[in-house]
């Protein structure tokens, strides 16, 4: 099976360009993400950042009187 893979890869014309292409894809995606993040609206960012706190941000529980025994 490995031989099968090896054989096929060498038979692809111009495969040397693949690594360079992958780097370009990676890098431009990364740059695009960064641009997107820094142009996001502040209100939207705050809204998402508060998601973990939405269902009951009651911590620390030990200050919660109904739990005191």
């Amino acid at each position: 099976m490995l031989k099968f893979i090896k054989g096929h890869m060498t038979s692809i014309d111009g495969i040397e360009i693949f690594p360079v292409l992958s780097f370009v894809i990676f890098f431009s995606f990364f740059v695009a993400v960064t641009v997107w993040i820094y142009t996001m609206k502040k209100s939207k960012v705050d809204e998402i950042a508060h998601l973990p706190l939405e269902n009951g941000n009651d911590y620390p529980f030990n200050k919660n009187s109904e739990n005191e025994k």
Binding site: K6, F18, F30, M40, D46, I48, P52, L53
Partner: protein
Amino acid sequence: MELEKFEYDNAIVKNFIIASAVFGLVGMLVGLIVASQLAFADFFNDNFLLKYISYGRIRPLHTNAVIFAFVGNGIFAGVYYSLPRLLKAPMWSKALSNLNFWGWQFIIVCAAVTLPLGMTTGKEYAELEWWIDILIALIWVAFGVNMFMTIIKRRERHLYVAIWFYIGTFITVAMLHIVNSFELPISFMKSYSWYAGVQDALVQWWYGHNAVAFFLTTPYLGLMYYFIPKAANRPVFSYRLSIVHFWALIFLYIWAGPHHLLYTALPDWAQTLGVAFSVMLIAPSWGGMLNGLLTLRGAWDRVRDDAVLKFMVVALTCYGMATFEGPLLSIKSVNAVGHYTDWIVGHVHIGGLGWNGFLTFGMLYYLIPKMWNTKLYSQSLANTHFWIGTLGIILYALPLYWAGFAQSLMWEEFTAEGALAYPNFLETVTQIQGMYQLRVLGGLLYFTGAGVMVYNLMKTAAQGTFAATEADQAPALPVTYTPSTNEYWHRVIERKPIQMLVFSLVVVAIGGIFEIIPTFLIKSNVPTITSVKPYTPLELEGRDLYIREGCYTCHSQMIRPFRSEVVRYDPVDQEYSKAGEFVYDHPFQWGSKRTGPDLHRVGNKYPDSWHFNHMLDPRTMSPGSIMPAYPWLLEDNIDYEMLPKKISAMQTLGVPYAEGYAERAIADAQAQAQKIVDNLAGDKIKTDKDKEIVALIAYLQRLGTDIKNKDLTK
């Protein structure tokens, strides 16, 4: 808008928490035992000489237990708790949740049975045999399906950053596990890696490093981004930074693997690539750490008396330390000092004990009072745990840093006359015995702390009432969504989880392929050496015993091109290890740690009788040695009947044995064994050709000798 009512399943979270705590204690206990075996070798050799608890077999048990059982169950506990709450939807399938839980525990039990029995693939952190690998893949997919279906059925449009980390974890771990586990089974108990030598090493460390990245780091970062805001009661310091953190990490991590193979026979371009990406990794890692710590701004007073926050602060600090050390150790000149020494062991334990351990503890101290509707049984016990745990980490790591530097400097020191200052490797081992003993103390403290925590949490659970479900309500997402006209493209991806799954898989796969394909493509990357021939059947059998006993956990087979190494390990010919010497090694056995000396040129260095006596009791040949004895090798029989199968398997993998050689394998092996038996008889040692020791001697005497057949080398 109409609110829909639904319930989160806490029972599954509880199960994973119990499993994580129990297997955590077990994994740490096994760690204590292996550390003691090195620190008090004589005691173990004299009193506990049992093959099933031999160092080479249970060190993999320790690493697997801690990584996949303790941290693995910790990941599932955290994900099954946070994911539904962040998505405002219960987990999609209870059946899949339960399959995930029981399947994972079954895998752990299989590992706990097979590793002490010596069933191992011989690849670090991927030791489990082929059928367990298949189970792991299936259970992991069950987890992934459950997660993605929950994402699809969600009631919250935005995916919080923690979920991104979970998705990245799922995809990458699946890919790494499958690619690294390509192996050819020859029986229920035994398989051979598809890859050989340099290729196997590259795939293995691409897997090994990314197991650290995507099993021990990214899922825990997801948990960090959920539980720190929860415990600090404020949103993350910078949500924007958390997204950059995520993309930069997965962008960089996947290429960093070769830094485990610096100065080895790996092609130079791959080594340099690994160094460059590893050094860059410090940026997102420290960005993430600071993001976590700064989340506590305005809440630092609470760190003083809140156990959850204390554990999380130390966890983040250790994450920062480990990710500073990582890039540092990836620089070639630093790596030359640190590689193969205890520095690396100290480094990974800052990550394991500090980052993974303390974050898990923090999470448990948060979750158990929460799910049992009570408060923590004892804050002071939690504080005790915190302090002895922290002291344990320090007492664990510092002695090993010291030991690592001391040993490395001793390896490299030459006298004014140009000879090695410490020509006997053993001197460099006995020198650091005290450090090994201190390390046991550190481990013991940490383990005791974990025990205190389990007691505290059990008392907490006993005083509360467990809520198996938690009710919540939220409006359903509108079926048709009209995007605003100036919507960003990233938001579009975010809304389409399946497309995002495929897209991220492609992105990660490209990184992996880039690193691996060239070695498949370019023949010149692994120059062939004409004098290097396949192993004889008996040597192959001996090699399997070497793998079974986990010799690679203490011995490398990779002499780096340094004067100090070639003079030490090959004083006559001074040959370092060449890529072409490993082309028939399925799997490669380069190792990553030298608790004992390198063995790549051990062939023909000592007489057969030396090896025989040394395996019976290493201390007779090397007084003061901390190596375990292997008396069972002298008593157990070689399974000659398996040899034809093993030879055919090697032929399938491309090892050039002559057509039909499999049928002659047994006769050939027995003839070679008889020669060794006769040779031993000359030194007044009586054994017979059926004993395993004979095969092991055959393998050890072959190691690294092919290159010396000058007549055959062009």
